[in-house]
Symmetry: C2
Subunit: 411 residues, 2 copies
């Protein structure tokens, strides 16, 4: 970052192309709420720099662009009808005056952190699986070091009001996973999240033992009761967020944040959750992008396990009772992936289940196909299609593009 102009996005003119992109994304992260579909589609269509130009009124738009965004939204599973760009421009307008990306970048740098954007060496590639919902950027507080791949990361999530049972299980799991070299991903909240970070910090052997994905800015450790814990996470691991420093952790941002937790890890383990719980939202995100959802059984008399049993009953979640079983779930994906990637195509196909072969055959090579279409073509349930796409994706045989899925050249 060469610019120290604190006036903000007007500095883009004097810096290089890479930096222009970075500064534009930093600005857009303040302008748009997470998962602003229209905004994200606009970035896909014209890039971050021009999106910022359009949002600030420096650049105009036209019917072609509107059509392209409609098509991107449809492919990405977004709203089938949308209010048009002018409506979005009106939504963004009130925040244009507050834009100060250079100041935000300086803030995160001063806290010993940085901003990473897609394409950076340090960008976690597995976030691409979010398709159109991939974050614009990540504000990252902590030491600069490689973040884990999906197969090296396990999400442990659950209720804030954890029981002794949940606390002990989470602590054991997190410690054991960190001991085996996994990164434990969680949300930095009270209860299960805190036990997950704490256990991972005590078990960590090297690298990034734990990542806290925040719903608000990384400048503030929230909730305040976890301040010491989160400071330790930032020192030994990483504290990240898609919203810029100073952003409040709103309810909406909590829910959006969950998709990043799910996407970072190969397996999301729900340790304790009530019948309705934010942890189930994380599980749902994980399932949607074909990640493995696992859950811990507990007493049927404990309301804090009711959400876990719901996940087991609904058929999407795997029952796990120890670290070995979790590691198996991560390994089953990861190890096959790395082995198979070096083998010939025939060998790759040999390792696939019948369902995955059928799914692979159903994937188009040039265009992309939606999950809905694939369920029809392959004759598989939506859940089976999503899980299969996740596996094929990790094997490098399938790729998501604009929210749709296609075969790679390898397949």
């Amino acid at each position: 970052m060469s610019s120290t102009d604190t006036k903000g996005f007007t500095a883009v003119a004097v810096v290089g192309k890479q930096d222009k992109e970075r500064i534009a994304r930093a600005a857009l992260a303040r302008l748009m709420e997470p998962q602003d579909s229209v905004g994200l589609a606009l970035v896909r269509a014209v890039g971050a720099v021009d999106t910022l130009g359009i949002a600030t009124g420096e650049l105009g738009t036209g019917p072609n662009l509107e059509r392209e965004i409609s098509s991107l939204l449809a492919d990405g599973g977004g709203p089938s009808s949308w209010a048009g760009l002018p409506a979005s421009l009106r939504r963004w307008a009130p925040r244009v005056a507050d834009l100060a990306p250079d100041r935000d970048l300086e803030t995160v740098r001063r806290l010993g952190g940085r901003l990473i954007i897609p394409g950076d060496d340090l960008w976690p590639e597995q976030l691409e699986d979010l398709g159109l919902q991939e974050p614009l950027c990540l504000w990252w507080r902590g030491q600069e070091q490689p973040l884990p791949s999906a197969r090296q990361a396990i999400a442990l999530v659950g209720s804030r009001d954890s029981t002794n049972y949940g606390a002990s299980v989470t602590g054991d799991f997190a410690y054991g996973l960190a001991q085996r070299g996994y990164t434990v991903v969680s949300g930095g909240a009270y209860g299960i999240d805190a036990h997950a970070h704490r256990g991972a910090l005590s078990g960590g052997v090297a690298g990034v033992p734990t990542i806290a994905v925040m719903a608000g800015g990384v400048d503030r450790f929230y909730p305040s009761g976890n301040e010491d814990l989160l400071r330790a996470v930032a020192t030994q691991g990483a504290v990240i967020s898609e919203v810029p420093p100073g952003s409040a952790p709103t309810r909406y941002r909590f829910l959006q944040r969950n998709r990043i937790i799910a996407a970072l890890a190969s397996v999301t383990v729900v340790v304790e959750a009530r019948w309705r719980s934010g942890a189930l939202n994380t599980a749902h995100h994980a399932e949607t992008i074909g990640r493995v959802v696992a859950t811990v059984p507990g007493s049927i008399h404990s309301a804090n396990s009711a959400g876990c049993h719901r996940l087991l009953r609904d058929g999407g979640a795997v029952c796990v009772t120890d670290v070995g079983e979790i590691s198996e779930l991560a390994g089953a994906i990861g190890e096959t992936g790395s082995e198979e990637k070096d083998a010939g195509a025939a060998a790759v196909h040999d390792g696939l289940s019948l369902e995955d072969l059928i799914l692979l055959d159903a994937l188009p090579l040039r265009s992309t196909s939606s999950v809905e279409k694939l369920t029809v073509v392959a004759g598989l349930s939506p859940d089976a299609v999503r899980a299969g796409l996740g596996r094929l994706g990790l094997l490098g045989l399938a790729r998501s593009e604009r929210g749709g899925w296609k075969r790679t050249g390898k397949a």
Copy 2:
């Protein structure tokens, strides 16, 4: 029963055909251990009366009969090679001198019971789903009243060394199921079985609140610590066994007995089980004949729930946490079955899932097909095939015959 000749099977000459069959089966039940595949195939081939004649040396055999038995064994998933009829005759010979079916029938009658055989009005039709492994007969101690259909019966099984958690869950479930009019089927043992029978007796509203399927003869209430409980089960419900009065409950008979528990009920619920447990054997039997297997989650720190979690992990079992969920599993099968049975064929097919439709198409109308063959033809997993056959069977669309499966005329 018109004969009171206590000398035994020689009395068959003086009674009617129905009684001859009944007396022959009573005799064979003492001659052969449960699931004696060759003996059961012989009964299929020539009937019970002639089987008894062959076993006692009154009738001869020939190569044609050997070939027919080979084919029945192969169709029924039995041993692919067998030692031939002479080997079986040698196995049965030592017991021929002990045969006294009339005495056994008199014993069960004196105890207020009876013998039922396939074809009797009182015979539980769902036992046909065991194919070649259908019991020859059942010795039944208790009031003469209709036994429940599969959809009206739920099996609750589990470890002898139950915990307080297991005891309380089993008691609640059994009471609640009996209150809703279900019959609770179990094995009369200590621990979970005893809590199941006890809960059902206290919750029973009418009919048969509970059935104890014994591994030994019904003349003796075993284990002795459950004597009072089993006496109450016999008074209000039913105590049944496939082995004649006086038979000891051997380890082998315990395992064979489990298939009858599984076949009587639409759903087998494993409440508590260690990693290795007889209850898992019952679950396996249930799965094999396409019944629903359900299990209760518990603490991952309890060794008594390890077997339940194993069932959840292996993917075969449904997680249940209350009586409503169990009733739903039984109802999902039963109610569809009864509704659809009255509707036209088109309506029946309309209600089927894609997988079940594929399976139905793969079933032959004239010959029968094995589960293995069906997995290949339908492209489904063995588990999916078994579960599907169970559903189609209850809808009256598929039928098992000689251990193989075929479509019915309805389908």
